[in-house]
Symmetry: C2
Subunit: 261 residues, 2 copies
């Protein structure tokens, strides 16, 4: 039962379904759900709601307690805070972390926590390095994710494209999304790996407008420093990196203040 | 305990660790592990091994029974077998499936089943559409994954690159991988979304050679038809699509025969 609920997060599963699946009485299922609820709460990794009535059931929402979130973010900061990650141009090497299942699970659960009480229909990202993050968030939200692409690819069918100004390089680029992948009115969470000028995130915002969809929130793994005004409004970052004067340091982003205050 | 083992697949967890974490006696832990083992087995979704002795513990390996694998593949075939997926040039629209958490969980578990008894250090893929698959396989193998890129990206640091012949278009292209991401001697499983001529997979094979790493196996989600000889040797496909004469159909690939016979 734990396994089933964990693999179907945020989904209302009827007690009748469990009863038939496991051939148990309703009372013993309720008892087991009580144990699962308490365990999730004690460990600060999720909540289990049980809704009464004929259309009721149990729903497991993976999420971190504030204490756990702080601990996980501190660990991420420690992993990133390493001068050898600094690359020319103020970029930061993060590919090892964005390819680590454990780190991706943590990031997915952190970002999913932010939207625990909100309706999200789809997670959006842009190729390439945002994909692992978007997938991980999508897994915990139990929703599909869509990948915006930088140039035309023959395997996508008809697409909608927008031009955008890359905030850091000031060049005009084009991004596009397959027409079939996003529905009008969908609630979208945008996820990317790194925020510099915000031009890319802003482009995804225009794309969401083009599709008549609704932006719920924007999240990045790391926020870099940027001189001047960013092109975007609110964006939640897990960590913040500072690479001025060839010094490199990482610290927590605005996530904790945004989600838990 | 179930949650911990599910989130740390293929990892040997000592009984002492569980005892301290949950404050339970060794006997009740053994009893609970027995229940978990039986449940996984009954549902055909994994195996739990317990190793005796001081360095022993419990290890959960997610995998499908042959029956489940067949059922899941039949469902995938049904989802793909839809003429509206056919795109010009014999390509197939699969982005919706490769962005669906449930489908990705199934594919990840299927491919992980194939390597259940083998040492795998890293999963490799090439951008863009192979990434969700590689990540999902990596989650179930509990190993990192690396993304080979098509062109030089400034955020990667020093890279190793190889030229390869794209089997379907017969053009020479270049792929590269950040030097830091793959270690000499590593055991690599290559995963991609679609196999046509095999040139891309072959390129990754050369890249693995360049790094002095070892190829364990190659897997694709879908195998298309290809006239002439493929550039690669063995590759396991979950499904096979046929789009000759503007007719489109999907059927199971060679997975079941490769893994269970």
């Amino acid at each position: 039962m734990t396994r089933y609920l964990l693999e179907h997060p945020r989904e209302l599963v009827s007690l009748k379904f469990f009863g038939e699946r496991y051939g148990s009485a309703k009372s013993s299922i309720s008892e087991d759900l009580g144990i699962i609820r308490k365990t999730l709460q004690d460990w600060g990794v999720g909540k289990l709601e049980t809704l009464p009535g004929a259309s009721g059931g149990a729903r497991l929402t993976p999420m971190y307690s504030a204490d756990n979130a702080k601990m996980v973010i501190d660990q991420l900061v420690e992993k990133v805070d390493d001068e050898s990650r600094l690359l020319p141009g103020g970029y930061v090497y993060l590919s090892d972390l964005l390819g680590d299942p454990e780190v991706l699970r943590e990031i997915g659960r952190l970002i999913a926590t932010q939207y625990e009480a909100q309706d999200v229909d789809v997670v959006m990202t842009i190729e390439t390095k945002g994909i692992p993050l978007a997938q991980s968030v999508a897994m915990y939200l139990n929703r599909p994710f869509v990948i915006v692409r930088n140039s035309s690819h023959i395997t996508e069918g008809s697409t909608v494209s927008v031009n955008y100004v890359s905030g850091s390089s000031q060049r005009i680029k084009k991004m596009e999304l397959s027409r079939r992948t996003l529905k009008e009115g969908a609630n979208v969470v945008v996820v990317d790996d790194f925020l510099k000028g915000g031009g890319t995130l802003n482009g995804m915002k225009s794309l969401i407008d083009e599709f008549g969809a609704h932006l719920v929130g924007m999240n990045v793994f790391a926020e870099g420093q940027f001189e001047g005004e960013r092109l975007i409004g609110e964006c939640t970052s897990l960590i913040k990196v500072d690479s001025s004067d060839n010094q490199f340091s990482a610290k927590p982003g605005n996530y904790l203040a945004t989600v838990f205050d």
